[in-house]
């Protein structure tokens, strides 16, 4: 089944990392994936968005208007793309930064205070991993174990400290996701 994920926020929040990591996890799992970044000329602070399409079959169009999953990292990104989430879609949002009231009732909304969790964990770099953790609890597009083995491959040797924090972040995020499911 074709699943489209949109991630939005501001440059520096790890938007593109979420996208590439989701795509890579799916490919490692034997599926097809495309990752398309969209950003302005700024390195930091500008708006950033990426679209990831995951499918069991060859992906024809990597550009989709509507998404099945929407990960909103900040208020601006939330406002810009919430209308593009399909009915019955999943919204995972960084409730430390998204201050709007979630008005849509036809979706599953998962609030995750990703920035606050990061502060607790002592690293501001893992907010994006927290969000993926929450996503794994409410959707089966990637599994927590599949994602963990991907970041293990990527960071375990290169930066053991960051890897440890990332795994904690993944678990914390998953806990928040489970709260919604129960």
């Amino acid at each position: 089944m074709k699943t489209t994920v949109v991630v939005s926020g501001s440059g520096g929040q790890g938007i593109m990392s979420i996208g590439t990591m989701l795509a890579q996890t799916a490919v490692s799992d034997g599926r097809e994936a495309t990752f398309l970044p969209e950003y302005g000329p700024e390195q930091r602070g500008g708006s950033a968005k990426c679209t990831v399409v995951i499918d069991d079959r060859e992906i024809i169009s990597p550009l989709a208007k509507k998404c099945d999953v929407f990960i909103a990292m900040n208020e601006q990104g939330y406002k810009k793309f919430i209308a593009d989430l399909k009915a019955d879609g999943i919204l995972v949002y960084n409730s430390s930064r998204v201050t709007s009231e979630i008005k849509r009732t036809d979706i599953t909304a998962v609030p995750v205070p990703a920035d606050d969790i990061c502060t607790e964990l002592g690293s501001m770099k893992c907010a994006n991993i927290v969000m993926i953790g929450a996503l794994t609890a409410v959707s089966d597009i990637v599994t927590k174990d599949g994602f963990a083995s991907h970041i293990e491959e990527k960071f375990a040797a290169k930066n053991p400290g960051l890897f440890k924090t990332d795994i904690e972040a993944l678990e914390k995020g998953a806990e928040y996701g489970k709260k919604i499911n129960s």
């Binding site: 795509a23 495309t34 990752f35 398309l36 970044p37 550009l63």
Partner: protein, 357 residues
């Protein structure tokens, strides 16, 4: 070989290296920076050389020099930088030197925007520099296709002793998708190529000169030879994807990323019973004339040209083959605005159901 996830620009760079590229010179511009960035570390690994030139003009001139020395040489840029390289590309063609040039195209005209567009079609296919020469122009729609083209680009360039151009939209340069990379080509012996000005130890031939300057008579002779080469391309080298044309009442014409959006829309429309097909040129030059000329115009009610260019640029080439046998509709965006699946579907459907007449 297992498929891996790779960014379009990086996959093209790797495929060029595997296809024998051993020299790159270029100047930074978005959205193609990942090509030089990748080659800056990759080329030295295979004994090649990478230069970030002081300008586009310098870079294309270095490619000219490297090619004259028998090296498989490449450059890449985006619209504004390609314009600056146009002079050098004309000189390469005039001197009959092979090279591989990639335009990862962005919104224009002028400095335009850094977002994807297809506004360099006319430049690429009609006049990629002064003097009325042509290049083979390839337009991939997937990263895999871009890899395959980059891998074989030097074969065409050396066969014809003429530069080869790959025109890919910024979307395909930035996207990551799965690819299968081909094996490394053995390029031993290429250094003794017929145009190489450098004499190697043991070579007994007389000195060789290359020049972009000819006396009038010889220049006309060369241009006549070139005309024959373009005819041969039209006969032998056209690459095109014809999709669901058999019973099609409406035929979409699109290339690159746009064709992928169109294909998905066509599958959806087919499921609803609409007879829509597509012609996707893979070589923009030579243009797939026969695909358009040979349509069954007793069935075809319209051609729908979809491009990230306003006004559409490929339309002129289509019109020459359709010869007023069916109306040509066009839609798209430009300046860096992308289409999405819903818009593409809705626009095609509007035309097919008569809403746009």
């Amino acid at each position: 070989m297992a498929k891996i996830l790779m960014k379009g620009c990086e996959a093209v760079a790797e495929a060029a290296v595997r296809g024998g590229c051993r020299f790159f010179a270029g100047y930074p511009i978005t959205p193609q920076n990942e090509i030089p960035e990748y080659l800056s570390w990759r080329l030295p690994e295979v004994g090649g050389a990478f230069v970030q030139g002081e300008s586009e003009v310098a870079s294309i001139s270095m490619v000219y020099g490297a090619s004259a020395g028998g090296t498989r040489a490449m450059t890449s840029s985006s619209g504004p930088g390609i314009s600056l390289k146009a002079e050098g590309i004309s000189y390469l063609s005039s001197t009959k030197l092979p090279a591989f040039i990639v335009n990862v195209s962005r919104g224009g005209p002028g400095l335009g925007s850094i977002q994807p567009a297809q506004q360099d079609y006319l430049q690429a296919t009609k006049a990629m520099g002064h003097g009325g020469f042509r290049l083979m122009v390839f337009a991939p729609a997937t990263v895999q296709e871009a890899v395959d083209i980059a891998y074989d680009a030097f074969e065409y360039a050396e066969r014809d002793r003429n530069p080869v151009l790959m025109l890919m939209d910024g979307c395909l340069g930035a996207i990551m998708e799965t690819v299968e990379l081909p094996p490394m080509k053995d390029i031993t012996g290429k250094e003794t190529a017929a145009w190489n000005v450098k004499r190697y130890p043991g070579e007994k031939r007389s000195p060789r000169a290359l020049t972009p300057v000819y006396p009038e008579m010889f220049l006309e002779y060369e241009n006549k030879q070139r005309a024959k080469m373009y005819e041969a391309w039209q006969k032998n080298d056209v690459k095109v994807e014809e999709f669901m044309l058999g019973d099609a009442e409406y035929v979409v014409a699109a290339y690159g990323i746009t064709a992928r959006l169109a294909k998905e829309a066509i599958l959806r429309l087919r499921a609803e019973g609409f007879r829509v097909g597509m012609i996707r040129p893979i070589t923009l030059y030579p243009f797939p004339k026969k695909s358009f000329d040979g349509l069954d115009y007793s069935l075809v009610k319209g051609i729908i040209d979809i491009e990230l260019a306003i006004p559409a640029q490929m339309r002129d080439d289509i019109a020459l083959e359709v010869k007023d046998r069916a109306p040509i509709y066009e839609f798209g965006h430009s300046g860096g605005i992308l289409m999405n699946d819903e818009d593409t579907y809705a626009q095609i459907k509007k035309i097919v159901t008569g809403g746009d007449k």
